[in-house]
Amino acid sequence: MRKTLMVALAVFGQAAGTLASAKLAFAGDQLTIVSWGGALQASLRKAVFEPFTKASGIKITEGEYSGEIAKVRAMVDSKTVSWDVLDASGTTAWTMCAQGLLETIDWKKLSLDRAKFGDVGKYDCGVPVQVSAVIVAYDKDKLPNGPKSISDLFDTKKFPGKRGLSKGPVPNLEWALVADGVPINDVYKVLRTPEGVDRAFRKLDTIKKDVVWWTAGAQAPQLLADGQVLMTAAYNGRITNAVKESGKHFEIMWDAAAQGWDYWVIPKGSPRLDDAYKFLAFGGSPQPQADLTRYIPYGPSNKDALALVDPAVLADLPNTPERDAIALHADNIFYIENGDDLRQRFTSWLAK
């Protein structure tokens, strides 16, 4: 009997020991950086992570997530922050900042010129990295006369068939309003009123039965390649890379492309704050930002980086002046205030 107990205790002791050592191993001298996986993360690895380790000697452990604030909230609330730097996208980054989940960045410690980042540099909790865009893509082989404007996405008479859309309010509500005739610069003004929200959902109602919803960025080019959809909302980089890799003749329609900035941010309470700052300074500097465009066509945030970008790549970037002019620029303040409400409403709308 005593022997049994001893064995049981020993087993438990060992289990506890393993748990403790697992925690210790976490505290090693390295930075845990979390991004979105897939093509983007592979590009970041080559253009940013590896050069950073070479320059600073700080090792990088990579992680992936799909932009869930829940995980960050759980870490910050329980004071066990194991992610040191996070690649957060526009509205998510702004919301986390407003909810106090991120460190406020002291730009003096970064040795970066904040003015070089223009308006996007006005964000308090991180350094802007790159801009991507949610665009409408179609297969030129199957649809020689593709959509020309965002209204065509909603025009089921002219383009009968399924469309792929991202499962969430952004940028579907904005697109619905633009397609319904709201000038692109007034979209958020209209969306701020309850009638405007109703109008957007009414417009979405007209294509609801023709939509295939996707949740992960990689699904969009897949749906298009399988011929499951006629056209689909997608991240521009995923489409360009799919064209490069598979030789498909996917075409991008840039009208009302929803631009979204990604930021490097630091979850509040990261134990390796100094190293994280070093990484942010590196990530915001021109060279790695320009290098990134060689692997994935997302536009750099640092204005100095644009000069270093290969002119051939420039054509694929979402923030060239002519694309910028017709793009939809997300109003992050609007989403801090109304994001939850719209998500709730969208969930109910979708479930009905």
């Binding site: 107990l5 869930e68 909230r73 909810q99 399988d226 109304n338 939850d340 409400d341 709730q344 109910s348």
Partner: protein, 416 residues
């Protein structure tokens, strides 16, 4: 037992037999308990406690109590008839300023927005503007900032927030909510969809269970009656997919059922249809994939029960004059019932919790409760709602199990 008798018979110290027996018995019980202790602790720590904690979240929510402490305290004496007095508004201004400084406005706004859709934005903008208010009277100033503070429903909500316990999440899960005077009213039609989701979950689970039974029963019969050589081969074919990852099996259905997938290509080549039939991202795809995944769960218990039924029974019935169907129906079938019940119960309960499969092959209106639990946990961060939905699903499952037990009797179930 043998050692026990020996010990009792050879008791030298004159201790009463009863006590001696009790001691031995206690000793054995302790030994048995120690053996199961590690597993018991594991289940308790890794299963019961976390689930209990999550279930607790369904009724426990102190967001407003901790983030707006002064307003909650000031409101505790409010009668709920007219708008509260200046003292409460002063407390509100203080709370909002504090929240803005600590960057927790977002959490307050979010909590208020659950119950008053659209009010969250006004809370955030009020907090942003409230920092400019330096002296009272606050009542007029705050109502001026946002008409929200001139409405009674927000004050009722804040007053309810004074308690750390709320029935809101559970009510919402069955399409009810609090009205402006804290009375319980039905949710407005645009946000009332949870009852539908529960019914849908139940409906899909029942249909999938029925489908697996219809498909699985004949196969199980075949397996049980064929000679071992053939039946082993068939068995491998059934069990092989069972060993494949659920995700792989689900995505395989995407390949098969999509518009230009194998099934549609064959149908079109055979001129059954001129354009692709919609087989995926809808109820059809969900049902097909779920039935495929659940088939072994229904089939295997039926098979193992059939294996134990002596073939002589049916032969005896036949020799006594029963027709083939009559003999099957009256003699064979009743004996398979324990297996049928076990298989169906297993499949039905597993179906209730499905999440990944409908997510991948279903459309927006085929999502089951599991989808919403995941949505509220990971994306909406509304853990109260996730817990409430989970708690209701768990309770419903246990209730169904209880009813099933009363009707059929779990002790009669046989897995083999």
């Amino acid at each position: 037992m043998a050692t026990m008798t020996v010990q009792i018979a050879g008791s030298p110290d004159g201790m009463p037999l009863r006590i001696k027996l009790q001691q031995v018995e206690r000793w054995r019980k302790l030994k048995a308990f120690t053996l199961v202790l590690p597993l018991l602790l594991f289940i308790l720590v890794a299963f019961v406690l976390p689930i209990g904690r999550m279930m607790f979240n369904a009724i426990h929510d102190e967001t407003l109590l901790t983030l707006m402490p002064q307003t909650s305290a000031a409101l505790s004496v409010w009668d709920g008839k007219d708008l509260p007095d200046e003292r409460v508004y002063a407390a509100l201004a203080k709370d909002l300023k504090q929240a803005w400084a600590q960057k927790i406005t977002g959490m307050i706004a979010k909590r208020i927005n659950y119950e008053l859709p659209g009010a969250g934005g006004q809370v955030t903008s009020s907090a942003r503007k409230a920092i400019t208010l330096s002296a009272g009277p606050y009542k007029a100033a705050l109502i001026e900032i946002s008409p929200l503070w001139g409405q009674r429903d927000v004050w009722s909500l804040l007053k309810r927030g004074h308690s750390a316990y709320t029935a809101y999440y559970l009510l919402r899960s069955v399409d009810y909510q609090y009205g402006p005077e804290s009375q319980i009213v039905a949710s407005p039609p645009e946000s009332a969809f949870f009852r539908n989701v529960f019914l849908r979950t139940l409906g899909i689970s029942i249909s999938v269970t029925a489908a697996t039974l219809l498909l699985g029963f004949p196969v199980a019969y075949l397996l049980a009656t064929l000679p071992p050589k053939t039946s082993n081969l068939l068995m491998i074919m059934i069990v092989l997919p069972f060993w494949t990852s659920l995700l792989v099996r689900t995505t395989a259905w995407v390949v098969l059922l999509q518009d230009h997938g194998i099934v549609n290509d064959v149908l079109m080549a055979l001129h059954v249809t001129s354009q692709p039939v919609e087989l995926i991202f809808n109820r059809v795809g969900t049902m097909v994939a779920m039935t495929h995944i659940q088939l072994p769960f229904t089939l295997l218990p039926i098979y193992s029960v059939m294996k134990t039924i002596p073939t002589t029974h049916v032969r005896a019935a036949r020799s006594l004059g029963a027709g083939p169907f009559y003999a099957f129906w009256k003699v064979y079938f009743p004996q398979t019932l324990p297996g049928v019940a076990a298989g169906c119960l297993l499949t039905f309960i597993l179906c209730l919790g499905y999440y990944v499969t409908p997510e991948l092959v279903g459309g927006a209106t085929d999502q089951m409760v599991g989808h919403f639990v995941a949505l509220y946990t990971n994306e909406d961060l509304n853990w109260g709602m996730a817990s409430a939905l989970g708690a209701i699903l768990l309770t419903a499952t246990l209730l169904l199990y209880y009813v099933f037990n009363k009707l059929v009797g779990v002790d009669r179930l046989k897995m083999g």
